[in-house]
Every structure is written in structure tokens, then in C-alpha cells.
């Protein structure tokens, strides 16, 4: 869908907030707490696809996202910081949710650092959510984050690692608490390691993820029998590419489960992402499920 940048605000020198509204005023798909959207961001040589948590409410007329300028940026965040302007129209994929709050949790312990605050801004908006929230940031960003966060005894902002005693915090949680963590990888790794050490069961620990195993490096597939060669782009599946080339390969579920789309691999090594083939079949590398799997070699030759 096409969304236009309706507002831009600078929250800290490194973080900007964007409001994205439908071009034609039509209602947006709802973005439940924990959802993210993927934006297509124009770059000089290619289009970047970046995922951002939605911080606005599920029924809001526009999506709000926050973008941190990534040092040595791959491109997307730099463009949003340096070039994006009001009225720019971006291609945005409908929201998906891989970090929804656990509805059965009696209590939530939310831990975030820096830009990792974003999914929790939608969590704390949920009516009746029982939570304890600790957010860590640089001292110079304190005022900006405080303005975003709720106030009250359940909320603590840390500007120094020393005021957050992770070990004690994780050991003192009442039974039935779920831990959710979001922030830089190093921060999440540290929290997860501490939680594991403190005896937290994996089912009660949740880490932000944007998933997105669909795309990957482009590769070429030759169809031996039909004599057709297709180039599979970064964001499309082998199945999509074959269909776009006018072929009609078998398929049903388009999600790696039904087994319909299996093709024999004559040359090259597939990169398996399906749930259909067994481990042994995966290791044999002589079949590929075209709807989700890709290639480890630059080229595949398929019996089709």
C-alpha cells in the first residue's frame, strides 16, 4: 500500500519519528501491539526493505514508527534521516506481528534499550496490562524517552547500566511473569543469558524479531525440460519467479507445508526453508520446495 509521510519529528539527534498515512484517506489495516511494518526505501542502487515496529495504537488512522540512524548505515535509515521529507510516498507492506504480547501472562516484565523501546510503546497502551518496564538509554536522551513513556511505579528509566540490577530483577519476579526484551543484539543476548542463568523457562522469555526468512540473495534457476531460465530476485520466491516467466509449476499452500511444489534438483545446492522435507531429504539436496526455498549456489538446475 502507498503511505505518505504526514509528519516527521526529531526525538533525539539519532532518532526520528515518522507518521505514515494512507494517500487516499482509506482506513489502514490494524496494527496490534507488537506489530511491525516493512517499508520500501529508495536507494541509489537498490531498494531497501526495512522493518520498523509500529508505536501507534491498533485503531490509529496513521502508523507511527521511530527510526534510529544506524552508524555506517546500509542505506535505509540514512535515507529516512537525510532525505525523507513531508509528503513523500512510500510503498509499505501490511503490518505483521511476530512479537505479540502473551495474553495469558499474569504480569509482563518489559526490558528495552535505546530504539528497542518501540514495540513496548504499543504494549503499555493495552488496557489492563500488568507490567513492570525498564528502559535503558544514554543520559543525553533521557528527557526525550521520558516524554514517550508512561509514568508511575511500574516504569523505570535507566541512564546507567549500574542502576539496572538485571540478576536481582530476574530472580525476584512473581510466578506467571513473562519477560519480553527488545534492543541491540548485545543487550538482548545479555538479558537472555541472565534469564537462562536465573532459571527462566524458554516459554516465558520473548525476544523481538522481525522474522522475514522469505527473501535472500538473488540466484538463477534453469528449467531443464522447459528450457526456461529465471532470475529469482531478493524479495520474490522461486515459485513467484517461475510464474512470472509464464511457467505453471505445481503448488498449493505457498508456505512450505503441503509438498505440492517439490521439484528435483539436478545441479546446485538448495537452501531449504520448508517444513515438508525431512532432515534426511534436506541433507540429500536433490529436491527443492519452490514456494519458500532458495539456493546456496548462484545457480540451480531443476527438472521442470
Amino acid at each position: 500500500m502507498k503511505l505518505k509521510i504526514e509528519a516527521i519529528a526529531t526525538l533525539t539527534p539519532g532518532i526520528r519519528k515518522f507518521t505514515l498515512a494512507p494517500v487516499d484517506g482509506s482506513p489502514l489495516p490494524h496494527a496490534g501491539a507488537g506489530s511491525h511494518v516493512v517499508l520500501e526505501i529508495p536507494g541509489p542502487s537498490r531498494i531497501w526493505k526495512n522493518a520498523y515496529s509500529i508505536t501507534s495504537a491498533a485503531d490509529a488512522p496513521a502508523y507511527e514508527i521511530m527510526v534510529r540512524r544506524v552508524e555506517k548505515s546500509r542505506g535505509g535509515s540514512a535515507w529516512l534521516h537525510d532525505h525523507a521529507k513531508l509528503g513523500d510516498v512510500l510503498e509499505v507492506y501490511p503490518p505483521q506481528n511476530l512479537f505479540a504480547p502473551q495474553r495469558l501472562a499474569k504480569r509482563h516484565l518489559l526490558l528495552s534499550a535505546g530504539i528497542g523501546i518501540t514495540p513496548f510503546l504499543s504494549y503499555v497502551r493495552l488496557a489492563g496490562l500488568a507490567y513492570e518496564f525498564h528502559h535503558c538509554c544514554k543520559p543525553e536522551d533521557e528527557a526525550a524517552f521520558r516524554a514517550l513513556l508512561p509514568s508511575g511505579p511500574q516504569m523505570t528509566l535507566h541512564t546507567s547500566r549500574h542502576t539496572l540490577n538485571l540478576e536481582a530483577l530476574l530472580k525476584s519476579q512473581p510466578l506467571g511473569t513473562h519477560l519480553s526484551v527488545c534492543g541491540p543484539e548485545s543487550f538482548m543476548d545479555m538479558v537472555l543469558a541472565t534469564a537462562a542463568h536465573a532459571g527462566w523457562p524458554a516459554a516465558k522469555v520473548h525476544k523481538e524479531s522481525f522474522g522475514g526468512a522469505t527473501g535472500g540473495e538473488p540466484f538463477v534457476a534453469h528449467m531443464k525440460r522447459s528450457g526456461v531460465t529465471v532470475t529469482v530476485g531478493r524479495e520474490e520466491s522461486l515459485l513467484d519467479a517461475m510464474e512470472a516467466a509464464g511457467l505453471a509449476p505445481p503448488c498449493l499452500c505457498r508456505g512450505g507445508a503441503c509438498g505440492e511444489c517439490k521439484l528435483t534438483v539436478l545441479e546446485g545446492v538448495p537452501d531449504h526453508h520448508d517444513h515438508y522435507l525431512s532432515e534426511i531429504e534436506h541433507a540429500a539436496n536433490d529436491a527443492v520446495m519452490t514456494c519458500v526455498s532458495r539456493a546456496k549456489t548462484p545457480e540451480l538446475v531443476l527438472d521442470f
Binding site: 490494524h30 496490534g32 495469558l104 498449493l252 505457498r254 508456505g255
Partner: protein, 351 residues
């Protein structure tokens, strides 16, 4: 094509239910091939496709009024047919919105929804309902939101919470089930509630289906067809009411099998719900008497082959053994040995 609704039919006692010729031709015949085995037979639920019942997000047909009246009777007798666990309240509102929007969008002559902020106005003309309410405030509706809307949509529904890499059946409206019980299954996980199904566990069908569903995306519903057979066009074949329908099964004879016996097909669609991240499972059932089914030549021939060759454990699970031979004998005269095209299309325009 404009949808016209029949006056109320019955699904119990005198069983006045029958299909018009149009309804027969649009029946979702479940067998694309001459044989049947469990598989992960799932595909994106996009409009159009092998049968007209795929044309709408939620299909309404000529039996709507009778279906809803029968649901009301069953709920009256057994309120536990509708249960939703407390943590699914957001999913209830998600369901209400999805159903109201889909119905109003797909059948504007019968349903309408007007939203003014959280003040909503819902009109259901066939059931003569005109309701204004506040979205998110259940005290403004005569029932809880999930029950309210599923009393107005054909087919059963269940609500699945996703957690611990699994799905849990944490709510539902189930009044037209093929011999399973919501009251028994509520709170169970995907593999637990599928426990009684033979063969499919060993074949890895449920492991794969679960992985597929865990990745189900908002705005990209999926579907599959499932089937069984029922003696008389009865919607409520629940374990609780077995004493009512068990004897009707036993009363099937070679003479009455064509009229009484029904093929029962479920169009199952699965929808990721946006606010709650839960999954709505819709089990939209269709019944057809065998004497109606044989009006489509291809289906009559294929039915003969499928039922004749059905794996005994699947036949047993579906409760067929008692009358399976009568069904095979009923269809046998139609099967002249011809080769049939694969696919479920009727391949005829009229009856």
C-alpha cells in the same frame, strides 16, 4: 449474482432442508481425484477458484435463515456450545469486526455496517437486526461480541491463541460439528485436539500444518476442505447429542440411503486477527443429500470410487462402516468406468 435466501428450513425432526439446483451446482465437492487420503491440503483463501463458495471471504448461501434458527435452538438447549476464555476478549472484537466488514462488503443488499469512530451501526436484514453499539464495550451488545456475531454467521468458529509455538483452542461457537465437542477441546493445543484423528499424525500432517499456521499472516487467510457423511441433514451431530442422531444412522437402509444420507463438506478458512494476533478458524459446513449429489454426473462417478476405496481407518474414524456399502451400491450404477478430469468443478452448467 444476487443471493436469495430460502424461508426457514429445519435440520431436525421433519428435516425440510433441501438444496436448490443452484445450490447443488455451487456445492464444494471435496474430491479433486478418484481417491482420498489425509494431506496438508491448504491453499491461500483468495477469491475465485475451483468452486463458487471461494468467491467471498465468508460464504452465505440460501440456507442462512434456517442455519441461524437451528443454532439458536441448540444454544438454547446447551449454552456451553459457545465458550470463550477471558484472555480472548480482544480476539472476540477482532472476530466481530472481520465478520461484519466481510458480510457488509460481500453482501451489501443483506448486511450493512456504518462506523463513526467507535460508534457502530450494524444492520442484518435477513434476521431483522438493527443494532447500534460501541466497539470495545461489550455491555452495549445483547451478547458478548463473539457470540453476538457468530449467531449471525453460518458455520462453526473457533478461536486459537498462539503461544509457546503452538495454537490453543481458547474459544468457539460450535453447534454444527461432526462429532467433536468444544466443551471437551477448549484449552487444548493443536496436537491434543487432533488426538483422535488416525494416520495423519504419523504422516506428519499435523506437524506441517501447525508450522504453516503459526506463520499465518494478517490479511492472507488460507483454506482447506474437509468432509464426512451424516444421516439426515442434521447440523448438530455433537457427542453430547449422540442419543438423538445415533439411532438415525442405524436407520439407514439401501432404500432410504439416497434421500437421507448426506455428504457433509466443511470449507475451513483460517484468519489471523490483527489486534489479538489470535487465529479465527471458520468451519463452514455444506450438506447435500446423495440424491441431490448424483445430479452432477462427475461427482456421482467420483463418489463411488472414493467411498469404495477409502482407507478403513479413515472410514472408521468418520463413522461410515455401518452404511458404507449402501453408499457404494447407491453410486455404483453411475460409474461407467470413464476417466474423470482432476479437480472439483461440476463441469456442467445446469441440472
Amino acid at each position: 449474482m444476487k443471493l436469495s435466501l430460502k424461508p426457514q428450513e429445519t435440520y431436525r425432526d421433519d428435516y425440510t432442508f433441501s438444496n436448490s439446483d443452484e445450490a447443488i451446482l455451487r456445492f464444494p465437492f471435496p474430491f479433486p481425484e478418484d481417491g482420498y487420503m489425509y494431506s496438508v491440503n491448504m491453499e491461500p483463501h483468495v477469491r475465485g477458484g475451483a468452486t463458487p463458495v471461494y468467491d467471498k471471504v465468508f460464504d452465505v448461501d440460501e440456507h442462512y435463515i434456517g442455519d441461524m434458527a437451528d443454532r439458536a435452538i441448540t444454544l438454547d438447549q446447551d449454552p456451553l456450545r459457545c465458550q470463550v476464555l477471558p484472555h480472548m476478549e480482544t480476539a472476540e472484537w477482532d472476530t466481530l469486526e472481520l465478520l461484519m466488514e466481510s458480510l457488509a462488503n460481500d453482501y451489501p443488499e443483506h448486511f450493512s455496517l456504518t462506523k463513526n469512530g467507535d460508534k457502530w451501526h450494524w444492520i442484518n436484514r435477513p434476521l431483522e437486526i438493527d443494532q447500534t453499539f460501541t466497539f470495545g464495550r461489550k455491555e452495549t451488545l445483547p451478547y458478548d461480541p463473539f457470540e453476538y456475531i457468530t449467531r449471525q454467521m453460518q458455520g462453526d468458529f473457533s478461536l486459537q491463541d498462539q503461544r509457546d509455538n503452538n495454537l490453543y483452542m481458547d474459544g468457539g461457537m460450535v453447534t454444527s460439528q461432526a462429532d467433536w465437542s468444544l466443551n471437551f477441546d477448549v484449552g487444548m493445543s493443536f496436537h491434543e485436539w487432533h488426538g483422535p484423528v488416525p494416520l495423519a499424525h504419523q504422516a506428519g500432517v499435523f506437524d506441517r500444518a501447525l508450522q504453516y499456521l503459526l506463520r499465518l499472516q494478517y490479511g492472507k487467510p488460507v483454506r482447506r476442505l474437509n468432509w464426512t457423511m451424516t444421516a439426515n441433514p442434521r447440523l448438530d451431530t455433537s457427542p453430547e447429542n449422540y442419543p438423538l442422531w445415533g439411532p438415525e444412522k442405524a436407520a439407514i437402509t439401501p432404500e432410504n440411503v439416497g434421500h437421507r444420507m448426506c455428504l457433509r463438506v466443511e470449507l475451513q478458512t483460517l484468519h489471523r486477527l490483527p489486534r489479538s494476533n489470535a487465529i479465527l478458524f471458520s468451519i463452514r459446513g455444506y450438506l447435500i443429500r446423495l440424491e441431490e449429489l448424483v445430479k452432477v454426473k462427475k461427482w456421482a462417478v467420483r463418489m463411488h470410487r472414493v467411498i469404495r476405496d477409502l482407507h478403513p481407518q479413515i472410514a472408521e474414524y468418520k463413522g461410515l462402516p455401518r452404511y458404507r456399502q449402501y453408499v457404494v451400491d447407491y453410486f455404483a450404477p453411475f460409474d461407467d468406468g470413464r476417466t474423470l478430469n482432476s479437480g472439483i468443478a461440476a463441469e456442467q452448467d445446469s441440472i
